[in-house]
Each structure stands twice: as C-alpha cells, then as structure tokens.
C-alpha cells in the first residue's frame, strides 16, 4: 500500500499495529471493489423482482430501494462487513494513538512552539450540536473528542485512519481535496491571486497546507470546531515548516472582520454539518469575502439524475456510517442557498472538474474507479465543485 509521508506527530505503529492497519486497508479495498460490486446483481436479479411482485411497480426512490434490499442476504452481509471493517479500522489506529498519547501531546507542543504560523483555541467555545452529538464516519470521539489536556487524538485518528479509510486516495500528505480545489480555482479563475485565504472546516489541516502551497505569499487560515484536531493540524503544519494559522471557530459565525479574505473554501465539509448550519455558513462566507473574492466548496455530487438504485448505493453512509446529513445535503439546492446568502445570481456556479484522484495521479497507486471518494457519478476521477463570487 501507499505510504503516508511522515511528520512529527504521525503516530508510530509497532509491527503488529502496522500489520493490523495495513490489513484494514486491504479489507476496506476488498469491501469496495469485490463485495459492494455485487449489490447491483442482488438488486436487479432478486430484490427488484420481489419488490415488483409485491407492489406491482418498481421502487421510486432510495428509501424504497432500501426497503427492498434490507431483507436480502447479500446486502446484509456486505453492509455488516463494511460497517465492521470501518469500526475495526478506527480501532486499529486508536490503539496506536492511545499507547503513545502522552508522547504525542508532548511532541505536538514541542514542534509547535516557536514555529511559524499559529494556533488559537477558544476555551469558551460552544460545540455545535451536530458535531457534539454524533461521531461522524463512526470515528470514536468524532471531530470534537478532547480526551485530556493538549489532546491530539481526533487529529491523529483523522489523519492516519482517514488515510487508510480512503485507501491512500487523498495522497501521501492527505492533501488531495485541497490540491484538486487549487487546480480547479486556477483553471476557472486565473485572475484570482489571493493574499488572504480561509479554509472552513480544516480538520487535520491537509487541505489548508495545499492552499498555502499554492499561494505561499498569502496569509492562510484554517478554522475548525475541535481543539484536538486543531492542535494536531498545527503540529503537523509546523513539522513541515508551513506558516498556517489555525483557530477554533465555527464556520457559521467567526470572529474575523468583514471582508477579511479573497478566497474562502469549504472542502468536503458541508455534509458533516446540518440543514440549519448551511445557510449560516454561506452567509458567513459572503460576509468574510472582500469585493472580488471567491467562495469555493467541494462536496459529494447531488443525487439528482441518478437512478433510485444508484442513489441508494451512494447514500449508504447516511444510515450505516454515522453520517446523518449525508443524504440530505445531496438533495439540497446549494446554488439557491448561495444566492439567498447574498451572492449575485450570475456568479453562482456548480460543475464537475478534475478531482481528488487526478490531483494525486502522480503520487498514489489508487485507481480512479473508487467512486465513493472520487465522489463522481461520471467517472474519470472528477469531483463536484460549487461556489460564487462577491462583486
């Protein structure tokens, strides 16, 4: 398997722990490429005829397809296998982290001290309910977990576990989503030369670093809600000498002044928020942009246009991977919500463009057919982007 690029706070696995993590990488790949590929035949040859016989018509939406599939042995087996694999994956990494947590905390503090860039935590921060009440993608502790003073667990779990979960697709530096966004922005908005950049929902900071690398003279900020992901992001960036500024703020309402940024990004983050948060995030992006500034988001593409079975397949994470907003965000009209947030209608866009996989074509061995993370219904390694410009 592809190796992750080392840095000061990447948890160090023993031989057995590494063997366990690498097995989870292979078992995850097997689930996606060998097991889940059988779901279509299970549906078309078994579930669908049974449903038609019982109801006199085909399932009309993903909910009805799910009703048809839940009783199928193949669906039960594949879902149980994929869910359990996900749990084992996080556990295989968490074990490594907890064994050395005091040392990791110490390393993070040491590498961050006096390094360029900054970290600002808010001791009075109010964790949004949609983050506090759920551990997204079944990651123990979720984005908000904070186990002890100086904790970096959530960041380390996301960085190392996420690398295995995505089968290396995001690249050796876990920055593929950011690199894809940079490429998209440069191709579509060649005039944009941002000097102040904000990434909303930066987690372990991989994409924030990609933005900094693209525009190294700009001042780049990353915000997130979890203290432990931010401490880790800060240490990781510091370890690579990246002068990025991280702070604990909600993308719904930040402490930055009006017109503080030329570029605001929200990359693969919206589906981890909520229906009521999205309009607030868009309004905040609008407020924070200076005239001429650009807002760009990347997200899993809308379900619109896909067959009920395809939507059912792509919606698996909603109920099975602790992603309560996953399905709903795919059905929102995000462009309309950007217009309602104040962005001029004729600047609002949505499009497919070269995505995560092609961004890392040179440094990953993962083929582009891994649709879940490429997030494309059209193949070719494309990702879905949307955004708008403030005039």
């Amino acid at each position: 398997m592809l190796q992750q690029e080392p840095h000061a706070v990447l948890p160090e696995a023993t031989q057995d722990e590494l063997a366990r993590q690498e097995y989870m990488f292979h078992l995850g790949k097997f689930c996606q490429r060998e097991v889940n590929t059988g779901l279509r035949a299970s549906y078309e040859n078994r579930a669908l005829p049974e449903y038609v016989a019982a109801h006199g018509r085909e399932p009309a939406d993903r909910h009805q397809v799910r009703k048809a599939m839940e009783g199928q042995l193949y669906y039960q087996l594949s879902s149980s296998m994929q869910r359990t694999t996900q749990e084992m994956l996080w556990n295989s990494v968490d074990e490594t982290i907890q064994r050395q947590l005091p040392e990791l905390i110490d390393k993070a503090a040491r590498v961050s001290a006096d390094a360029p860039g900054s970290l600002t935590l808010d001791p009075d921060f109010q964790m949004p309910k949609y983050i506090a009440g759920n551990d997204h993608h079944a990651m123990p502790g979720g984005y908000s977990g904070d186990l002890m003073p100086g904790d970096v667990t959530a960041g380390a779990l996301y960085d190392r576990g996420g690398f295995i979960y995505t089968q290396g697709l995001f690249g050796a530096r876990m920055d593929g989503i950011g690199k894809a966004a940079v490429r998209f922005i440069r191709e579509r908005f060649p005039d944009l030369e941002p000097t102040r950049i904000l990434e909303m929902g930066c987690t372990a900071g991989g994409q924030t670093i990609a933005l900094h690398d693209a525009w190294p003279d700009a001042k780049t900020h990353g915000i997130d809600v979890g203290a432990a992901v931010l401490r880790y992001a800060r240490a990781r960036a510091a370890s690579w000498g990246k002068p990025v500024h991280f702070s604990q703020q909600s993308a719904e309402h930040t402490r930055f002044a009006d017109a503080s940024f030329d570029l605001v990004t929200c990359l693969a983050t919206l589906h981890e928020t909520s229906r009521s948060a999205v309009p607030n995030i868009f309004a905040e992006a609008y407020r924070l942009l200076a005239p001429g500034g650009l807002f760009v988001l990347s997200e899993l593409p809308p379900y619109e246009g896909a067959t009920p079975f395809e939507v059912f397949s792509r919606d698996w994470d909603t109920l099975n991977n602790n992603e309560p907003f996953w399905g709903a965000v795919h059905e929102l009209d995000l462009c309309q919500l950007m217009r309602e947030a104040g962005f001029p209608a004729d600047t609002v866009f949505e499009t497919f463009a070269a995505g995560v996989a092609s961004a890392n074509a040179l440094d990953t061995d993962v083929p582009v057919e891994n649709k879940k993370f490429v997030g494309s219904t059209r193949g070719g390694g494309q990702s879905w982007f949307a955004g708008a410009r403030k005039l």
């Binding site: 398997m1 023993t14 031989q15 057995d16 063997a19 366990r20 690498e22 097995y23 989870m24 292979h26 078992l27 097997f30 060998e34 097991v35 590929t37 059988g38 035949a41 299970s42 040859n45 078994r46 042995l73 193949y74 039960q76 087996l77 594949s78 879902s79 149980s80 296998m81 869910r83 359990t84 694999t85 749990e87 084992m88 996080w90 556990n91 295989s92 968490d94 074990e95 907890q98 064994r99 947590l101 005091p102 009440g133 759920n134 551990d135 079944a138 990651m139 123990p140 502790g141 979720g142 186990l147 002890m148 667990t153 109920l319 099975n320 602790n322 309560p324």
Partner: protein, 103 residues
C-alpha cells in the same frame, strides 16, 4: 509488559449502529469473525517478519524483530498475501455475488 494507556481501547463511536441480520446474534458473530481475520493476518505478518530476520541475521532478539526494516519488495509480497487471504476468507461472499450475477 507495556503500561495500560490512560484511555482504554477500543472506544465505541456515538451514533446508531444498524442491525443487519434478522438475528442480532449473527451481527455479533460476523463482527467477531471479521476481527479474527485481522488477527490472523497480523500473525502471518509477524511470522513473516521473524523468518526474514532469521534468514538475514541468524541471531534474533526482540529488538531485532521490532526494528527490522521491510523493503518495498517485502511490502508488495505482503500486500499480495493479504489480498489472497481475504479472497479465501470471504469466498462465500464472492461466490454468492457471482451466483446472483448469473441468475
């Protein structure tokens, strides 16, 4: 012996975990079985490591084993072994898949 870490693992994730099989006992057994497959792979890798160290050094200490570097070729061999192990373990799943596709 290693010290017990301050945070006990494995930790559960907040959120609803679906029941997949009609009998919850099957969900339990399936989860345990999958965990056993991982430990089987871990054991294999451990033996693989010991054999490589023995072959290379002749004399073995615990420190030798823990710090033995695996080159790219060895990693590739392990990857191929794991994929084949998974194919053998989950033969019943892929056979059911192929039967469904033929039906």
């Amino acid at each position: 012996m290693t010290d017990t870490p301050p945070v006990q693992t494995p930790r559960p994730a907040k959120g609803r975990r679906p029941q997949y099989f009609d009998d919850p006992a099957l969900d339990q057994l399936h989860a345990t079985l999958l965990a056993v497959t991982a430990e089987l792979s871990v054991l294999h890798d451990r033996f693989d490591l010991i054999e490589r160290v023995l072959e290379t050094k002749g004399v073995v200490t615990r420190a030798d084993i823990e710090s033995f570097p695996l080159d790219d070729a060895a990693r590739a061999e392990r990857s191929a072994h794991r994929d084949q192990l998974i194919r053998r373990l989950f033969r019943s799943v892929t056979e059911l898949r192929d039967k469904l596709a033929r039906d």
